[in-house]
Symmetry: C2
Subunit: 106 residues, 2 copies
DNA sequence: GCCCATACCTCGGTAACCGATGTATCGTGG
DNA sequence: CCACGATACATCGGTTACCGAGGTATGGGC
């Protein structure tokens, strides 16, 4: 399936929330997000990688090149202190939005 | 307050859901939506009116000019049969999105 | 007379995303 | 041993739904 797509603006919140559970590299992050979404949402690389670069520039996440056991290069991302704060805010914001949507559509 | 804004793509769903509870004219619809959102979400006329025109073109809603008791002209919108179907679909879609967001951020 | 609320509308600009495309390495089945 | 899919990164032009600002017009209150 993997048809639908994350609602606009939520990608950053989801990335921050997921990285809050542990550092991941981009590709694994995409897989983790799709798994969390039970395959309902497709994570587009053309959205994810630019978003990661932006979050890095903003100082919300820190990246470092590492070598996977199989030799492939990976860029592993983890939350900075500022990122943890941002994650908390974004999580609250989007939970609020979800709550409001449920209330208004129920 | 009225700071935040409806998430992208949800406006149509909310309009359809609200009109499902009875016909309204544009301005009243905006007020009704903001009230439903407890003042959290601001409804922009620059978003609402074009959305209404689009929904009308698509045949989801029907409009008719009426005269308010005070003499002001109003364009009252109501759901068509197709609109009721669309409302159901949009409601299910966005409730699903809200559910997924809650699950992924909780 | 002036201003705010009501009530409609349009239009340029933009944020965030989509889709396509590109690079490169690794594992594996034939 | 080599083609192909999975892994893993990246960029970039195009789209879309919206935002913000502006416009018109009438009604009622002070």
């Amino acid at each position: 399936m993997k048809r639908d797509v994350v609602p606009r603006g939520a990608l950053r919140a989801l990335v921050l929330a997921t990285l809050g559970d542990g550092a991941l590299h981009g590709y694994a992050l995409a897989r983790a997000l799709e798994e969390r979404a039970l395959g309902t949402w497709k994570i587009r690389e053309g959205s994810l990688y630019p978003a990661l670069h932006e979050l890095e520039l903003e100082g919300a996440i820190a990246a470092s090149w590492t070598k996977a056991p199989n030799g492939r290069r990976r860029r592993v991302y983890s939350l900075t202190r500022a990122g943890k704060r941002a994650a908390k805010g974004a999580r609250a914001e989007w939970l609020g939005i979800a709550e409001m949507l449920k209330a208004m559509l129920a």
